[in-house]
């Protein structure tokens, strides 16, 4: 009864749909016959004629960077498997999509599962993985069923199983469901979970998955979107693919826009081809009536927030090829990995959350902090304790009981988490607090005066809950 909402058709002229190409077609369904009718598995047939090493080389040439969050080049990741490796190799598709603000994988899994499978089988062949898993988050039960069905269809056509298409290559893929833990999106945590344990991330070194991954064997973990790109790299060839986007920021990527815009949704864009302003005004139809932009979280809730009136200095090559410094505003930011890193945030998972001037930043951060406090796995003390303290302090501030020292305490707690934990969750939970407090300090200081004012006035900014209660009361009246 429930499926994902269809993408708007036709695509906006500023979009460039490669992964979403099939999804844009009329009457496209997720069964294998429809996929085959639209040229499905042609690239697998092509890849099977190639040498595995050549496929990896093509993916390297293409320069496709991981779409899950870290943005690490997929081909380079693959080539970390030692050439003299004697152990079995595994491939895992990370479909644990749970970074707040990100909602692309479900679209692909529900509407075009065979695209993912084809990308996976080609990737398995390239890295010589005979066993692969799709780690799908537990809250996607329907997605898991769709994938199971697609796998069955692929087996029937001998795209999976023994001696695939007569190549002598055997490969099997299974669906593995998570159970509601965000930390399973971290690749070593995911591997622990796949081994049937609590998903406590492993320390790197030595546990780089390409060396010591699943069952202590070399393992490649790639995001759903990244694996889909592999199919298109084989279709176009690495060099041709690398022409899409900008150097070091190649290909297309899906950006997921949510929050205070007219038309939120998924947009597949050429990386670095459009600016934040074009995304907001052209693709998303601008802000809500009468509202002004206040802030944007550009790469999932872990990414550092960007303030609307900030100016960023970025280095750029001019016409003479010299490096010059340029000052840009938030709407001039090019949507690619390097530019978002240059302005002090990250492209992350592509989840862009837009906030207008109706939003209270203390309350927003309190919401984000509640998420991280809930999701910390608890293995490292700074993160387990710190995320909880940040949640408690911001929740108190948002409910009108802020104290003067809260702003500095928040910063100090966050500063003592980042860089002091086994996995990147430490940074992920510290960055929102660090950036919100730095960039919207006046709001935090204002909230910090509440305890004093409380004694005299008892006034404070309403929280999400209080707004909700008010809504209910009004309706009842």
């Amino acid at each position: 009864m429930s499926n994902v909402a269809p993408l708007p058709k036709p695509p906006h002229p500023k979009e460039r749909r490669i992964l979403f190409d099939n999804l844009s077609k009329d009457n496209y369904s997720n069964d294998i016959d429809c996929y085959l009718k639209h040229g499905g598995y042609d690239e697998l047939k092509k890849a099977m004629q190639m040498k595995p090493g050549d496929i990896t080389a093509q993916v390297k040439t293409a320069g496709v960077r991981g779409r899950g969050g870290a943005g690490f080049p997929a081909g380079v990741k693959w080539s970390f498997i030692r050439p003299d490796n004697k152990k079995p190799v595994y491939l895992v598709c990370n479909a644990d999509e749970s970074e707040p603000g990100t909602f692309k994988d479900r679209y692909i899994i529900h509407q075009d599962p065979h695209q993912l499978l084809e990308g996976m089988i080609i990737s398995c062949y390239a890295v010589n993985a005979k066993l692969a898993y799709i780690y799908i988050r537990g809250e996607f039960p329907e997605g898991a069923k769709i994938l199971e069905k697609a796998l069955e269809e692929a087996r029937e056509k001998n795209f999976l199983g023994k001696n695939i298409l007569g190549s002598g290559f055997d490969c099997e893929i299974y669906v593995h469901r998570g159970a509601g833990a965000y930390i399973c999106g971290e690749e070593t945590g995911l591997i622990e979970s796949l081994e049937g344990k609590r998903p406590y991330p492993r320390i790197k070194p030595p546990y780089f998955p390409a060396a010591l991954g699943l069952y202590m064997s070399p393992t490649i973990v790639n995001n759903v979107e990244t694996l889909c790109h592999v199919k298109h790299i084989i279709r176009m060839g690495g060099e041709e693919y690398a022409k899409i986007g900008r150097p070091n920021n190649t290909g297309t990527r899906v950006v997921c826009v949510s929050g205070d815009v007219q038309k939120p949704g998924n947009f597949e864009i050429e990386v670095g081809a459009i600016t934040m302003g074009e995304l907001l005004h052209d693709l998303c139809g601008g802000l809500k009536e009468g509202r002004k932009l206040k802030a944007i979280i550009p790469g999932g809730s872990s990414a550092k927030v960007l303030r609307a009136d900030e100016k960023y200095k970025i280095k750029k090559k001019n016409d003479q090829g010299e490096m010059v410094e340029e000052e840009i505003g938030i709407e001039d930011i090019l949507l690619d990995f390097d530019t978002l890193a240059a302005v002090g945030s990250m492209a992350g998972s592509g989840g862009i959350i837009v906030m207008d001037d109706s939003r209270n930043m203390v309350e927003t951060l309190a919401n984000i902090n509640e998420f991280y406090a809930h999701e910390s796995c608890g293995q490292c003390t700074p993160c387990r304790e710190g995320s909880l303290w940040m949640k408690k302090i911001t929740a108190r501030m948002a409910s009108g009981h802020g104290a003067e020292h809260d702003t500095d305490t928040l910063k100090s707690v966050a500063d003592n988490i980042a860089g002091k934990t086994i996995c990147a969750f430490g940074e992920a939970c510290a960055w929102p607090t660090q950036s919100f407090v730095l960039k919207f300090r006046e709001e935090f200081e204002q909230a910090g005066k509440a305890l004093d004012e409380h004694k005299t006035e008892g006034h404070h900014e309403p929280t999400f809950r209080e707004v909700a209660m008010e809504g209910v009361a009004t309706k009842g009246a």
Binding site: T102, D105, R137, H176, R177, G196, R198, G259, N367, H374
Partner: protein, 168 residues
Amino acid sequence: MDVPADFDQKADEIITRYPVSKRSASLPLLHHWQERFGYISPFAIEWIAKKLELEPINVLELVTFYPMFRQKPVGKLHIRVCRTLSCAMAGGYQLMDKLCEMTGIDRPDHPPHADPITVSPDGRWSIEFVECLASCGTGPVCMINDDFHEAVTPENAGEVLAKYEEQS
């Protein structure tokens, strides 16, 4: 107590997907159990542990870690409301209040260390806040059992619940 033969058979089939280590099948078997019997009982933990040649603690520690597993029965219709930022901005908290009102659930405001799940007095409905359900563009979202519902507002929540009227 014994489990039904078809349940046992399916469990064996699940284990074959993990040729390297049976232990990997612990999450799938927990899902398998919860889908059939509603929650993870002490017997379930012992049964799964035995099936996978593990100690019961190896299974229990998963149940207490992963938020989706529960050790108590829930309503026949279990609602998960997304609490995280984009949905909260779109009105997720208002949706939670409305759903509680409609299902007759008296949910404590912020259960600090309590069970996050609240069940309606008639046992038909249960509800909990969950973290990001990865549908941020169409918030507020909720799940009712395995079904996903997007853009559910206090105004149209009644229509969504009505679809479950016939299910007892």
